[in-house]
C-alpha cells in the first residue's frame, strides 16, 4: 500500500514539474484528434529568449497559446534582460529573440548571429512619480522628458534606475544622454532588478523612474505613483524579432530549431499576429499596451 502511494506521489511530482513550464495554461486542441493534419504539426518546441517586459505584461501568455493553436509549435520562454538575451543567442541557448535595443540588434545580425531582424511592435515609456508630483513636472513639461530629467537632476530628487543593462536601462541611459546629463550621485539609485521591482522601490522611496507603460499599468493599483510625463518621441521603444543563425554556432548548430523559429517570426508579423498584439490590453486597461508596426 505504502509503495503504491509513494509511486503515485513520485508520478504526481513529475507531472507537476513537467506542467510547470510556462505553457501549462495552453488549452488542449479541441479538434486535434479529428484532424490528422493538426496532429502532424505537433511536437516542435522553440526556445524564445525575451525581455522581462514582454513576459511581465502578459503579452506572451496571451499570444503563445494562439500560436500553438495555429501551428502546434510549443514556445518556451526565458525572460531576461536584453543583454543576456542577446548573449544567449550568441551562445546558441535560444532559437529566437524578441528584444528591444535596436542598435545592438542590428549589430547582432551584422555579426552573423541572427538570420534577419524584423520590426514587430513598439511600446512607449513613461516617467512616473509621486502622485503629488513634488517637482511639478506635470505642469512644467508634461510631454518633454528631457526638460523633466533636467529638473530632477537639478533638484537632486530621487530617481530609480534599472541599472541592469536591460533594454529599458539602455533606453533610459540614452534619454539622459540626449538631455546631456550624466546621472550620478546619492539621488540616482541603481537597482539592478526587473521593472516590477524598480516600480516597487520607486513607490517606497517616492521618487521618479522611467518605466514601460505595460508594467506600470499592470501594477498601478498597488502603487502611489502617477504618470508624470508621456508622449515624447524619445520615449518610444521598438521591438524586433531575430531568429538565431545556426551556421555560426559550430557544433551547437543542430540544437537550433531554425524552421519553427522562422515560423514563429512569420506568424507574429502576419496580419493575425499583429491584430492580436493590438487587441492585447484593451480589455484590462482600456488601451493597447503594444502598437504593432511590422512592415
Amino acid at each position: 500500500m505504502k509503495k503504491r502511494l509513494s509511486i503515485f506521489l513520485v508520478l504526481l511530482l513529475i507531472f507537476t514539474i513537467v506542467g510547470c513550464s510556462p505553457k501549462s495554461e495552453t488549452p488542449q486542441e479541441p479538434d486535434g484528434l479529428q484532424e490528422p493534419q493538426e496532429v502532424s504539426k505537433q511536437g516542435g518546441t522553440i526556445l524564445l529568449s525575451t525581455t522581462t517586459s514582454t513576459e511581465d505584461s502578459g503579452l506572451l501568455n496571451f499570444l503563445l497559446p494562439k500560436f500553438k493553436e495555429d501551428t502546434g509549435i510549443e514556445v518556451k520562454v526565458i525572460a531576461v534582460g536584453t543583454g543576456q538575451a542577446l548573449q544567449m543567442g550568441k551562445d546558441g541557448e535560444a532559437d529566437i529573440l524578441l528584444v528591444h535595443a535596436k542598435e545592438s540588434e542590428v549589430e547582432f545580425v551584422e555579426e552573423g548571429y541572427g538570420i534577419e531582424r524584423k520590426d514587430v511592435m513598439y511600446n512607449d515609456f513613461i516617467l512616473v512619480g509621486p502622485k503629488e508630483d513634488p517637482l511639478g513636472l506635470k505642469d512644467k513639461s508634461p510631454d518633454n522628458i528631457l526638460e523633466g530629467l533636467k529638473v530632477i537632476e537639478g533638484e537632486k530628487f530621487t530617481f530609480v534606475s534599472r541599472g541592469d543593462d536591460s533594454g529599458t536601462h539602455k533606453k533610459e541611459l540614452n534619454i539622459w544622454k540626449s538631455a546631456d546629463i550624466k546621472p550620478e550621485g546619492d539621488w540616482y539609485l541603481e537597482v539592478g532588478q526587473g521593472m516590477g521591482d524598480v516600480l516597487k522601490i520607486t513607490n517606497e522611496k517616492q521618487g521618479y523612474t522611467i518605466t514601460d507603460r505595460a508594467t506600470y499599468l499592470s501594477m498601478k493599483d498597488d502603487l502611489d505613483l502617477d504618470i508624470i510625463i508621456e508622449g515624447d518621441e524619445n520615449l518610444f521603444n521598438q521591438y524586433g524579432i531575430i531568429p538565431v543563425n545556426p551556421e555560426v554556432l559550430g557544433d551547437k548548430a543542430n540544437q537550433i530549431n531554425q524552421e519553427d523559429a522562422k515560423e514563429f517570426m512569420n506568424w507574429i508579423v502576419s496580419e493575425k499576429g499583429q491584430s492580436l498584439i493590438k487587441e492585447f490590453g484593451i480589455e484590462e486597461y482600456g488601451q493597447p499596451l503594444f502598437i504593432p508596426n511590422a512592415q
Partner: protein
C-alpha cells in the same frame, strides 16, 4: 567556453587590485550578516537552552515545529518583512524598506529559528549532564543556562558560524527587502544574481570566490579553536 576562462581571469584581476566596488559590496555583506547573526544569537542561544532543559507539555510537537522553522525559505522571510515594512504595511512609517536595516532584520529573522533550533538540539542531547551537576551545586535556572552555554561554547560557536554562512549566502531575503540598490543595499549574493542576468560574469565569479573564502576562513578559525579547547 572562452568566456569562462576570461571570466576567471577578470575575476582574479578584480580581487588582486581590490576593486573599490567589490570592496564596498563585500564589506556591506559582512556588516549585514554579522549584525543579523549577532542579534539572532543573543536572543536564540539563551532561549534555545531554556526550552531544551525545561520540561513542558507538548515538547515533542514543539521540537518538530522548531526543526521545521529552521529550514524556512529565505524568500518567505523576505516577503513577510517586505509586507511589514512597506509603505502600506503596519511598520511603513519607519521608512525601513530597501535599507541596510531591513536587510539585517530579514536575515536576523531568517537565522533566529536556525540558531534556536541548533542550540535546542545541542542542549537536549548534551546538556543533561551539565544540568544535573548544576542542580546538585544549587544553581537556579539562570545560573544553569549560563553554565550550559559556557560549557558547550565550542559547539554553540560552530552553530553560530553555520548560521552566519546561511545568512551571508542567502539571496532571496536581501534581494526582496534590500532591493539591490547600488552603493546602498547591494551585497555579494544580489550582485551575483544580477550580474548573471546581465551576462557579466567576472564580477560574479570574483564575488563567488570571496564568498567561498569567507566560509573557509570562518570554519578554519573555529576548527583550530575547537582543537585548542
Amino acid at each position: 567556453m572562452s568566456y569562462i576562462t576570461e571570466g576567471f581571469k577578470e575575476a582574479v584581476k578584480l580581487l588582486i587590485t581590490w576593486d573599490g566596488e567589490v570592496f564596498q559590496i563585500v564589506s556591506l555583506s559582512i556588516l549585514v550578516s554579522t549584525s543579523a547573526t549577532l542579534f539572532a544569537s543573543i536572543i536564540s542561544v539563551p532561549l534555545g537552552t531554556y526550552f531544551a532543559i525545561k520540561k513542558f507539555k507538548g515538547k515533542n510537537l514543539f521540537s518538530r515545529l522548531t526543526y521545521t522553522m529552521m529550514s524556512i525559505p529565505s524568500v518567505v522571510i523576505g516577503l513577510l518583512v517586505a509586507i511589514g515594512l512597506s509603505r502600506k504595511g503596519p511598520l511603513g512609517h519607519l521608512d525601513l524598506l530597501y535599507t541596510k536595516e531591513a536587510m539585517i532584520i530579514a536575515q536576523g529573522l531568517l537565522v533566529t529559528p536556525l540558531i534556536f533550533g541548533l542550540t535546542y538540539g545541542l542542549v537536549k542531547s548534551r546538556g543533561n549532564t551539565i544540568e544535573k551537576v548544576a542542580f546538585t551545586l544549587g544553581c537556579n535556572r539562570l545560573d544553569t543556562i549560563i553554565l550550559i552555554i559556557r560549557e558547550l561554547r565550542v559547539d554553540i560557536l560552530i552553530n553560530i558560524a553555520t548560521a552566519f554562512s546561511r545568512a551571508i549566502s542567502e539571496v532571496g531575503a536581501v534581494m526582496i527587502v534590500g532591493g539591490n540598490i547600488k552603493n546602498y543595499t547591494r551585497v555579494m549574493t544580489t550582485t551575483i544574481s544580477m550580474m548573471n542576468s546581465m551576462g557579466d560574469y567576472p564580477m560574479a565569479i570574483a564575488l563567488g570566490i570571496v564568498l567561498l573564502l569567507i566560509s573557509f576562513i570562518i570554519h578554519s578559525i573555529i576548527y583550530s579553536y575547537s582543537r585548542e579547547e
